[in-house]
Subunit: 196 residues, 4 copies
C-alpha cells in the first residue's frame, strides 16, 4: 500500500492537535494587563507543546519521505503514535491549571506522555524497517540516532524529578525540544539524495 493517505490522515490529526490547544487559551475575563498575565502559564505550556508537535510533525514528514510502502502493522504503529500525541492538549491544559506555578503531578504526567510518544515513534520506525528491504535508508540512519537516546534519558530523569524540583523537569523538556529544533543536515542531505 502507498503512503499517501497515512500521511494525509496524520497531517490532519497533528493539525488538529496543534490548534486544539488554543481552545484552552480562554480569553481573559477582564481587559487589563493583569488578566492578560494570568493567561501566561497556559500560554507558556502552549508554546512548549506547539514546538513538540512541530518536532513530531517534522520527523514524521522526514520519515515518510524515505518510506515507500505501508502495511497493516505500520498503520497501527502510526495510530499508536497519534494516540499519545493526541493526549498532549490534555496534559498541556492540566499543566497550566494553577495560575502561579507548575505543580508536580501535571508536570510528571506531561513527561510521561512525551516519553510514550517517543516510544511510539521508535516502534513506528522499527515497524517501517521490518516492512522494507535491505536498501531502506532508515535502517542506515538509525545508528546515528543519538538524539533519541538523550531525549529518552531526559524524560526518564524528568518524571521523578517533577516531584522534587518541578521547574527542573520543565527545563529538561525544554532542553529536549531545543535538541530537536537544531537542523539535522545529515538527514536532509540523505533525503535529497534519495529524491534525485
Amino acid at each position: 500500500m502507498r503512503t499517501g493517505r497515512l500521511e494525509a490522515f496524520s497531517d490532519g490529526v497533528l493539525a488538529i492537535v496543534i490548534t486544539i490547544m488554543v481552545l484552552e487559551l480562554k480569553a481573559p475575563e477582564d481587559t487589563t494587563f493583569q488578566s492578560l498575565l494570568s493567561v501566561a502559564p497556559v500560554f507558556i505550556s502552549y508554546v512548549l507543546s506547539f514546538i513538540y508537535i512541530g518536532i513530531y510533525w517534522n520527523n514524521h514528514h522526514h520519515l515518510f519521505q524515505i518510506s515507500h510502502k505501508v502495511n497493516g502493522s505500520v498503520l497501527w504503529a502510526n495510530l499508536h503514535l497519534l494516540f499519545w500525541l493526541s493526549l498532549i492538549p490534555f496534559t498541556t491544559s492540566w499543566l497550566g491549571e494553577n495560575e502561579h506555578y507548575y505543580e508536580a503531578l501535571p508536570v510528571a504526567t506531561y513527561g510521561f506522555v512525551l516519553l510514550m510518544s517517543a516510544v511510539a515513534y521508535f516502534i513506528l520506525e522499527r515497524t517501517l524497517i521490518k516492512n522494507h528491504d535491505k536498501d531502506y535508508l532508515l535502517a542506515r540512519l538509525i545508528i546515528y540516532k543519538v538524539k533519541d537516546y538523550v531525549s529518552t534519558a531526559l524524560y526518564i530523569i524528568a518524571i521523578p524529578l517533577a516531584f522534587v524540583y518541578t521547574w527542573l523537569a520543565i527545563v529538561c523538556y525544554a532542553i529536549v525540544a531545543l535538541i530537536w529544533l537544531m537542523p539535522d543536515k545529515k538527514m536532509e542531505t540523505l533525503i535529497d539524495e534519495v529524491e534525485v
Copy 2:
C-alpha cells in the same frame, strides 16, 4: 469521478472525530492522583473509541485502495458512514458520564451507534460493488467477510445485554475491536497484487 477528494474529506472528518474526543478529557480540577483517577472512565472510553475510529479508518483506507471510481450514490453512502462515526464522540462522552461505573443506557446507545456504523459500512461496500464492473476485487473479497457477521452478532447481543450486565456489553465491544485489530493478511496480499 475519481476517489481522491472523497478520501481526503473522509480523512479530514475521521481525523477530527478521533481528536475531538480529547476535548472531553477535561483537565482535572485538582492536581492530585485522585483527581487524575477520576478521569479514568472517560479515558478508557476514549481509548476504546480511538481504536474503533482507527479500525474504520484502516478499513476505509483498504476499501478505497481497491476502488477506482465514485458516483453520487457512493458519495452519499460515504457521508452516511461518516454521520454515524461522527456520533461516536457524543456517545463516548456519555459513556464516561458517571465516574464510578458504566450505566446501562449510555452503553446500549454506544452499541447502537457502532451497529449503525457497521450497517453504513456494509451499504458503502454494496454501493461500490454496484458502481464497479465484474473484475472489481471487492466483489471477490466480500464472501470471506466472517468478521462482519461476528461483529454484527456481538453488537446485537450487547445492546439488550447492557440493561442486564452492563460490563458484559463493554466486553463485547472490546472483543469486536480485538477481532479487527488482528491483521488481515489476505486483504493486504490482494491489495499488493492490484498495485503491482
Copy 3:
C-alpha cells in the same frame, strides 16, 4: 493556478464544519431515556445541517471536477462560500436552543444563512465561468439549473414564514435538502465524459 489546494482547504473547512456541530450535542446530564430525548431537537437540527453540508460538499466536489484553474477572484469567491457555511454550526446550535419547539427567529436566521450560502455558491460558479474559456462545461450546465431557482424561492418563502408557522419553514428547508439528495445523473454523465 491549479485547483488542488483550493479543494484541499475547502475539504478541511467543510470537514471541520460538519463535525464541529457534534460538539453542541452535549452528553445528557442524566442517563435516563428522558434525558436522551431532551437532546432530540439539537439532534434533528444536526441531521438537517449534516445533510446540507453534505450537499454543498458534493456540489463543490462536482464543480471542481470540471474546473481546471483558479485565480485570485475564485479563491475569494470560494472563501466567501466557506464563510457562510461556517456559520451553519452556530445557527444549528441556536435552532436547538429550546428543548420543546423551534422558535421563530432562530429558524429565520437558519434560513438566511442557507440563502446566503446559495448566493455565495452562485457567485462562485459565475466567477469560475468568467475564468474559463468557451468550452468550459459549467457554462453549458448552468442553464439546466432549475434546482437552484426552486431552492432560492423556498428559502425566500421560508424566512418570513418562520414568524408565522415556524414548523412550515423547517419543512421548506427539508424539501430543499430532499431535492438536492436526488442524484443528478446528467451532471455525473457529463463529468464522466470529461474525464475520459
Copy 4:
C-alpha cells in the same frame, strides 16, 4: 524535500483556525432580536479575522505555487507563521469580550499578533529565497512588495493608537485587510507564466 505535505499541513491548520473561531460564536441564550444583536461585536471580529486568515491562506497558496523545495529551516519558518496565526482565534475572542464597545488592550493585542504574523511571513519568504537558486521567482517579486511595508507601518501605528482612539486602530486593521483583498494581477500573471 517536496512541498506537498507542508502545504497539506498548513491547509489543515488554517482550515481549523478559520473555523475554530465560530465556536466562540455561542448561540444566544434567548431567541429575541436583542440577543442576536448581542453577538454582533463577536461576529464583526469574526468577519475581520476570517478575512485575515483568508488573506494569509491566499498568500501562502501563491507562495508555494512558485516554490519547489523545502528544507528543515523552511518547515520551522512555516510552523512559526502557523503559531502566530493560531493565536488569532484567541485574540478575536478577547476582542469581542465587551458587548458594547472594543477595549484598548484586546485591540492592541490583536494588532500585535497581526504584526508578528506579518514578521513570520516575511521570515518564511526570506528562508525560501535562501533555499532556492538565482532563478527563483520570489526573489524577483520581493522588490515590488509595497503592500508589506504599508501593512507593517499601519500595524505599528495601530498598536499604540488602540490606547488613545481604540476605534481608529480597528479602522487601521480593516484598511490593511482591504489592501490585501485587492487582486494582485502581477503575481497571478507571473504564476501562470511559471506553470506554463
